[in-house]
């Protein structure tokens, strides 16, 4: 049996990944080797962590000073410091110093020799003083400023010297994460560049050779740039042109013979006619001008822009709730958690509203303008968020970002629909969305690191820059796909889409499957997790690294669980087990309120979504069998995906109310139970009424 040749792009991607992995392994080995021999260099990371914690303590003290309390008359300093030692076990000693370096208040075992260090630091006004090892503690000092200018004193922090080991491990983890993210980013960009510049041309030539091999010379290839590939295409076109030229010459000769008179000419005409018809049965020539063979396109061409947009959108996730706090003054009568949750909720509301508009435009306007408008809108939105001082401005700019994101994602979905056959496009869509998950995973890590090294607002500026790079990529590499043109099949309007809600099974799948999934995504992952981790004293970079576990688990688990569920025809079971895993993870966090428990809860959420989201999406064609025929698969799926955003709207608001009333662990537990309850209801409903209308008739029979 003849083996099917491997796809060129698959071979290329495989080799690219192998090369990237080798590079990563080599880099990680080099860092590990360097780390073993030069651990002291990595102490920098530990110092950064202590500085971050110290700054939050200094902020509390400075706030009191700004209200006119003299530093010597601060009340409750010792309980404040004891609370800090309890909250951050790595800190062993705290001392509040006067502007001349004298100790005013202190807690913990004082390192012998710290007094001299404090005096020296006071001489430098507590600025630019490098941390040092004193009596078995790492001692650092931070200035305490009055009204942001005058040095009122200093805060001396002594931390565990054994922290170096964990700092080394932390730095190693951070380096490795950055390297892996670099690999993903590099691969996506390379796939785009090589795909559009080389692989697509090769695939087009391959297709052309295929048509020539069966004797079809009616098409020729389009113009190519000056390169080896261009030379090859020109040579191939020349061969096709020569063959057609010879055919035309032969036709002229035949016409001359046809015009001849006499018996001999008649016999010759008959024989020639038989030969020509025999030839034309096997070989096809161009009658007039050769038509141009359409250029091959691959879904991989669209991966890089989508990757970049998911990347920029996720960059702010680890710090967004904290950033909102810095932009919102307390409003009397309004819960602060509601103020934090409102922009997250508003983001999903804008997605909910903008997605149908974007879908309408995708069917009527070329693809490139939509994507470019999305890129520019995202960049403008991020710059606006970065420079916004007022809460209301923040909300407005966030809406612009959300609308832009809706345009990009919807345009991408529309492209998949146009490029895939109707039988496979839903599965392709489910798996293509993994690119967005990988992009988002890379984004949270990079965003967290930027926030820690620079500032919260800088994350949005960098995101704006990456969005502009995404726009540039679209301009340079992507073809301007024409809008979908099906003159016979009108695009269903809003009313037709609303008819879907009459299908109880569809309604149940949305209400008890899709909505709860988005509900916990926005409420737990984007709202509670960053706030809870920040409350535990975790730095933004580590928040990003913890959050990436969700994206990694979803990216790795979705194909695996979908394949398993598909093989065993247990999609509904996968949805239920997914909810059970999510809820179990949340209950672990309810029991143990620490970083490890949060990590377990996040991984549980990832496994839960990997098990339930794609199988549920694959169930939709079965659930909406009739609507798929009347409205088309695109309308059904777009409506499903639009409606699921309602879960995203409710998530942060519900989480805000729950956290306000019960605190983080209880809120997470309640949300987990909501997910489990919904899955139970969905399973029960589908068990009773079946997943398709045909099961109604079966039941009746």
């Amino acid at each position: 049996m003849k083996r099917k040749p491997k796809s060129l792009i698959q071979q290329f991607q495989f080799r690219l990944f192998v090369l990237g992995l080798l590079l990563i392994c080599a880099s990680v080995a080099a860092i590990a080797f360097d780390g073993v021999h030069q651990r002291d260099k990595l102490v920098f990371e530990a110092d950064r962590n202590i500085e971050f914690i110290g700054k939050s303590l200094v902020r509390d003290i400075e706030r009191a000073l700004d209200y006119g309390i003299p530093i010597t008359q601060l009340a409750g300093v010792n309980p404040f410091m004891e609370d800090a030692l309890r909250s951050y076990p790595r800190i062993k000693y705290l001392s509040l110093l006067s502007s001349n370096g004298h100790r005013l208040f202190s807690t913990g075992p004082e390192p012998v020799g710290s007094e001299a260090f404090a005096q020296e630091a006071a001489y430098k006004h507590f600025r630019d003083v490098l941390p040092t090892d004193v009596d078995g503690q790492r001692v650092a000092v931070l200035p305490v400023l009055l009204e942001g200018e005058t040095v009122a004193g200093g805060l001396l922090i002594g931390s565990d010297i054994g922290l170096r080991g964990s700092a080394s491990a932390g730095s190693f983890l951070a380096f490795t994460t950055v390297l892996i993210i670099s690999l993903f980013t590099l691969v996506e960009v390379l796939v785009l560049v090589v795909g559009t510049r080389l692989v697509n041309s090769v695939r087009t030539c391959q297709k052309m050779m295929g048509t020539i091999s069966v004797g079809d010379f009616r098409q020729r290839l389009g113009p190519q740039p000056q390169s080896q590939m261009g030379e090859f295409v020109r040579a191939l076109n020349a061969v096709v042109d020569r063959v057609n030229e010879h055919y035309k010459k032969m036709q002229i000769q035949v016409d001359l013979v046809k015009d001849g008179a006499g018996d001999e000419a008649q016999i010759l005409r008959k024989r020639l006619g038989a030969h020509i018809s025999q030839l034309l049965n096997r070989v096809h020539f161009a009658e007039a001008e050769n038509s141009i063979m359409p250029r091959e396109r691959a879904l991989s061409d669209f991966r890089a822009p989508i990757f970049l947009f998911a990347f920029v959108e996720a960059m702010s996730a680890p710090i967004f709730p904290q950033f909102v706090i810095t932009r919102s003054d307390p409003i009397v009568g309004i819960d602060v958690y509601l103020l934090i949750g409102l922009p997250v909720s508003l983001f999903f509301l804008c997605l909910f509203v903008a997605t149908p508009v974007a879908a309408y435009l995708s069917n009527r306007v070329r693809q490139k303008p939509i994507l470019l408008a999305g890129a520019l809108g995202a960049a403008v939105g991020f710059i606006g968020v970065s420079i916004s001082d007022l809460y209301i401005d923040l909300l407005i700019w966030r809406c612009i970002s959300a609308i832009s994101y809706a345009f990009v994602i919807t345009s991408f979905q529309s492209t998949i629909e146009r490029m895939c056959s109707s039988d496979y496009w839903i599965k392709t869509l489910a798996f293509s969305l993994i690119v967005t998950v990988i992009g988002a995973g890379c984004g949270v890590v990079v965003g967290g690191m930027i926030a820690e090294r620079l500032a919260y607002s800088d994350v949005f500026l960098v995101a704006a820059g990456v969005a502009l790079i995404g726009g540039l990529t679209i301009t340079l590499f992507m073809e301007n796909l024409a809008p979908r043109s099906h003159p016979d099949v009108p695009v269903p309007g809003l009313w037709s889409r609303l008819r879907l809600l009459g299908n109880v099974r569809f309604l149940a799948a949305v209400a008890f499957g899709a909505l709860p999934a988005k509900f916990v995504l926005s409420g737990v992952l984007l709202f509670i997790v960053p706030l809870f981790l920040s409350d535990l004293g975790v730095t933004p970079a580590v928040i990003g690294i913890i959050m990436v576990f969700y994206f990694a688990v979803v990216a790795a688990g979705t194909p695996l669980f979908h394949w398993l569920a598909d093989k065993a025809s247990l999609s509904m079971m996968a949805v239920f087990v997914g909810a059970l895993v999510t809820c179990s993870g949340f209950l672990v966090l309810y029991q143990w309120h620490d970083v490890t428990a949060i990590l377990i809860a996040i991984c549980g959420l990832g496994v839960g979504h990997a098990m339930s989201v794609a199988p549920l999406l694959s169930l939709i064609p079965e659930v909406c069998e009739k609507e798929m025929e009347t409205l088309g698969p695109s309308t059904v799926i777009t409506t499903y995906r639009t409606l699921e955003n309602m879960g995203g709207i409710a998530g942060p608001l519900a989480a805000a109310a729950l956290v306000n009333h019960f605190g983080f662990p209880h809120a997470i537990a309640v949300m987990g139970l909501i997910v489990l309850g919904s899955a139970l209801l969905l399973s029960f409903l589908f068990m009773v009424i079946g997943t398709s209308r045909s099961s109604d008739t079966t039941t009746l029979a």
């Binding site: 006119g68 601060l74 404040f80 942001g148 307390p330 958690y337 509601l338």
Partner: protein, 203 residues
């Protein structure tokens, strides 16, 4: 911009009207509120003696007075009760109030409790300023006394939720704290709403 502002206002109004955030503490029916107020006051400055000034123009305060007596008894504190002095027309006798405050100050209570009542509502600012003049910090039943008057602290329902104070938060007048040289503890300041006309965090 106007549309967005309206939207945010509508969402906020919806939240408030939904009853999740009571706009004002329902003082007359809330014993737990009184307990929260004195828990905050005790964290601020340890209590052994409390003074109470009673508005006799209204019966609204009777419930609070009963609750306060019970609380003081339970905690082992002592309570000094005194009536708000009135003239023959039923208005506040301002001269007499100065003397009342002076007498109260001589007994060294840690806190003076300013309850509710018509006269207190009308003369809130004057009563509180007289107390401050005599070095008496006021813990007020209504947060308006902190915002508009000279009361030092009060507790309000869920204005700033932090999950640690049962949905209530402390409100402190920092100008009064400076005047009395009685500054709040740092941990309390972290979660409290701080009111000041002269100071504040840098922008």
């Amino acid at each position: 911009m106007r549309l967005s502002t309206s939207f945010v206002c509508a969402v906020i109004a919806g939240w408030v009207l939904a009853g999740t955030t009571p706009a004002r503490a329902d003082v007359s029916s809330s014993e737990t509120m009184l307990q929260s107020q004195f828990a905050a006051a005790n964290s601020y400055w340890s209590i052994s003696k409390v003074a109470l000034i009673v508005d006799q123009t209204t019966d609204d305060s009777s419930e609070i007075i009963t609750a306060l007596r019970a609380l003081v008894r339970a905690e082992g504190w002592s309570l000094i009760e005194t009536a708000l002095p009135m003239n023959s027309e039923g208005n506040l006798n301002q001269l007499q109030l100065t003397k009342t405050m002076s007498d109260l100050a001589k007994q060294n209570p840690q806190w003076l409790y300013l309850g509710v009542g018509q006269l207190i509502d009308e003369q809130r600012s004057f009563i509180a300023s007289e107390a401050v003049k005599h070095g008496l910090p006021i813990v007020a039943a209504q947060d308006r006394s902190v915002r508009e008057g000279h009361a030092l602290i009060s507790v309000k329902e869920r204005v700033l939720a932090n999950g640690r104070q049962d949905g209530r938060s402390v409100i402190i007048n920092m100008d009064v704290a400076s005047q009395l040289k009685l500054f709040p503890p740092l941990l309390m300041m972290r979660d409290a709403e701080l009111i000041s006309r002269f100071h504040g965090p840098r922008q």
